[in-house]
């Protein structure tokens, strides 16, 4: 599904990613952990194609295709979804309108007709039920006045609507209380299948109690310094990151 080879990326001439290698197959869940400033969010932004990051070496392949030259929206059309750590507000644009635009732009890129209104309504109903979202919520302006939990739930709702091949959840657990965390995690679990893959970026282990990963990677100083199974997450929780820092000075 996703193959990252020797990825180097900088922002304003400061190198942040220093040779990342990662293989994610369909059906898998990978967790990327690491201390603050290790490059976790940069990695998600670079995969999604944010322009302020410059890829200086290496490549990213999605289903065998080098996506390095694609614009962010083209990557989205190919099935990459990023759940943002800090979702932005767009006043006056309802969640429904935003989703309708996103879906139809994607269909346009795939040379498909716009989705008929009744089909769109059906999809909205189905996905909001799946994620236990009150549909009144969908007429509100995107993220405007949303609580932390509502914002993250809304991200997962969008993920459900867009049915991506690869979903990257960037610090989806930050700012969530335990109930909200459970709801969000349940949502993600319901959307998992053998055809899609998920990358969970997190600072803490607790989200991984709910979204159980197949692999855990530790990112430090722009490199993956350790990879393992889900037990690695517990080890990190117990020991902290300092022992890894000491090993990788």
């Amino acid at each position: 599904m996703l193959s990252i080879k020797n990825l180097h990326a900088s922002v304003e001439d400061k190198e942040i990613l220093r040779g990342i290698n990662l293989e994610v197959k369909a059906g898998e869940v990978h967790a990327i952990m690491g201390p603050n400033g290790s490059g976790k969010s940069t990695l998600s932004s670079v995969i999604a194609g944010k322009e302020e990051y410059e890829v200086t070496d290496g490549a990213i392949y999605l289903e065998g295709e080098d996506i390095g030259d694609l614009a962010p929206e083209e990557r989205a059309h190919k099935g990459i979804f990023l759940s943002f750590q800090y979702p932005v507000e767009i006043p006056g644009v309802s969640v429904t309108n935003f989703m309708k635009t996103a879906i139809n732009e994607t269909r346009k890129a795939q040379k498909l007709e716009e989705m008929p209104a009744n089909e769109m309504l059906k999809l909205i109903r189905e996905k909001s039920e799946l994620l236990e979202i009150d549909r009144k919520f969908l007429s509100r302006s995107l993220n405007e006045g949303f609580s932390g939990g509502e914002k993250k739930r809304n991200e997962i709702f969008q993920m459900a609507m867009l049915e991506p091949k690869l979903a990257i959840l960037d610090e989806t657990d930050s700012g969530l209380d335990i109930d909200a965390l459970r709801i969000v995690a349940n949502g993600v679990n319901k959307l998992r299948s053998k055809d899609n893959a998920v990358i969970v970026i997190t600072h803490y282990q607790r989200l991984l109690d709910y979204i159980v990963p197949d692999f855990v990677h530790v990112l430090y100083n722009g490199k993956i310094v350790k990879s393992g199974g889900k037990e690695l997450a517990y080890e990190l929780e117990e020991k902290g990151y300092d022992w890894l820092k000491a090993e990788n000075v």
Binding site: A71, E73, F84, I90, G92, T101, A102
Partner: protein
């Protein structure tokens, strides 16, 4: 009779002589103007000739001359936050016969860039032809549409016709109301318009009648080319209602640089007028060359319990100078102003409103959304005035500015003059910028940047777009999109 008779004959003789001299001159001039366009320049003779060409009654000619004499004494205003080369008023021709379709012209002769824009707006081929004076095969159809429309209106006693026709057919109404809200001497451009206006619309809704359809200049789209100085007069008699749509919803590339229109609305007791405009005159090119100077005076008068709503979407023109206003004369009257003004490239807009509270319990609402992109300057200028006898007057103003990029400007000039302590005035203002984060968020969901900007701008303008009649709102949204094309990276 005796002496008196002699005096009379003497007088007549002299009068006759003067008349003959004038006539000779006028006739001489008249033959000159048998052609479609007047020679350039402006003086009393030009105005007389124009009035004659339009077969106007003498009172109208005199009214124009009065305005002209006032205009001659006035100077062009400079207080607006706009900079431009002042027009040379003696280098303009003040009359041009309505253009006729050229049978040899085809759409192939029209600027392809313009055609591409029409396509985006979803304008039919026939409309495109009409707008470019290309002969249309379905003229018969459109005539019959207009006729059915006129019949429905006539049954209700509604008058809706060109103002030149109203001057001849309904002189009592025109004479009674013309210039009562925007006097001839109101301002430099209003005076000029009063002197030389060529056409425009007239609308009268009788007592208690609710106009059954949106009155739109659409039906007279083929005449759109005539009005460099349009004059519109809308009268809603007691207890009546009308919704009026104005404007070219398609980009019009006008060879005339100056548009100085006047619109007067009169809402008598318990009447309501809703006036919506979508203005999209040629804004000039990317380097700021060309474009229309849009200097417009729009004002409405509300009698008791009356209501006037102005809604405008301004995306065109190189320079805009426009303040649709309400005089809330009657007790309990209501004035509203909803505006979206978009400027891109080198456009400059100075627009807003005046709410003049005279009567008791009068209410006004101002919602202004300014969107600036490129190197443009966008100013909101508004006045809320509460007179000393306007007990319990209320005003709410909200002015929001949205900036795109770092080279444009947004300015707000709200003026408040209150002479009554019972008045309640609220003013809110915000300035925001379309952030790269917002655009990236949309991109990540598969929405390309141009579409993302349109979405964000539409969201920002929603409160005003919602005030437009349905079919207008759709076109306005498309217009916003087109106006801001190329404004981002």
């Amino acid at each position: 009779m005796g002496d008196r008779g002699l005096d009379m004959s003497k007088y007549t003789e002299e009068e006759l002589k003067v008349e003959l001299e004038n006539k000779e001159y006028a006739y001489g001039f008249y033959t000159d103007i048998e052609s479609d366009t007047f020679p350039i320049g402006l003086n009393e003779d030009v105005i007389r000739a124009l009035s004659m060409k339009k077969e106007e009654p003498e009172w109208m000619t005199e009214w124009r001359l009065e305005a002209f004499r006032a205009w001659e004494q006035m100077i062009e205003p400079e207080w607006a936050n706009v900079h431009y080369q002042k027009p040379d008023f003696q280098a303009i021709s003040y009359y041009s016969a309505p253009k006729k379709a050229d049978p040899n012209k085809t759409l192939g002769d029209v600027d392809p860039e313009l055609l591409a824009m029409y396509k985006k707006l979803g304008i039919s081929i026939d409309e495109q032809k009409m707008m470019n004076n290309v002969a249309v095969d379905i003229v018969v159809d459109s005539v019959s549409v207009a006729t059915t429309f006129k019949k429905t209106l006539a049954e209700k006693g509604i008058i809706f016709c060109p103002i030149s026709e109203a001057i001849k057919e309904h002189p009592e109404l025109v004479k009674k109301y013309l210039g009562t809200v925007v006097p001839q001497k109101d301002n430099f451009y209003a005076a000029l318009n009063s002197a030389v206006f060529t056409d425009g619309s007239f609308c009268y809704i009788p007592k208690g009648v609710r106009c059954p359809m949106e009155l739109s200049t659409y039906f007279r789209i083929n005449q759109a080319g005539t009005g460099q100085f349009e004059r519109t007069l809308v009268i809603a008699d007691e207890g009546s209602y009308v919704s009026y749509l104005e404007g070219c919803t398609a980009p019009s590339r006008d060879e005339n640089q100056l548009h100085a229109a006047v619109v007067e609305l009169i809402a008598l007791d318990d009447a309501e007028i809703k006036y919506s405009t979508v203005q999209n005159w040629f804004p000039g090119n990317k380097e700021g060359k060309g474009g229309v100077y849009n200097f417009v005076t729009k004002r409405g008068l509300c009698e008791k319990n009356a209501k006037i709503s102005w809604t405008q979407v301004e995306t065109g023109s190189a320079v805009t100078w426009k303040y649709p206003s309400c005089i809330l004369k009657g007790d309990n009257s209501v004035g509203e102003f909803y505006s979206i003004a978009v400027t891109n490239n080198y456009q400059q807009a100075d627009t807003g409103t005046k709410m003049i509270h005279v009567g008791k319990n009068t209410k006004s609402t101002i919602i202004s959304k300014g969107i600036s992109a490129g190197k443009s300057q966008n100013s909101y200028r508004g006045l809320v005035q509460i007179s000393n006898r306007a007990e319990n007057a209320r005003n709410f103003s909200q002015c929001d500015s949205l900036l795109m990029g770092n080279n444009c400007g947004a300015h707000t000039f709200p003026y408040i003059e209150s002479k009554n302590t019972t008045a309640k005035i609220e003013h809110e203002a915000t300035t925001s910028k379309i952030g790269e984060d917002q655009v990236f968020y949309c991109n990540q969901r598969g929405i390309p940047t141009e579409k993302a900007i349109a979405l964000i701008v539409n969201g920002f303008s929603k409160e005003v777009l919602n005030k437009l009649p349905m079919e207008f709102a759709v076109e306005a949204q498309k217009l916003l999109e087109i106006s801001l094309e190329g404004s981002v990276g």
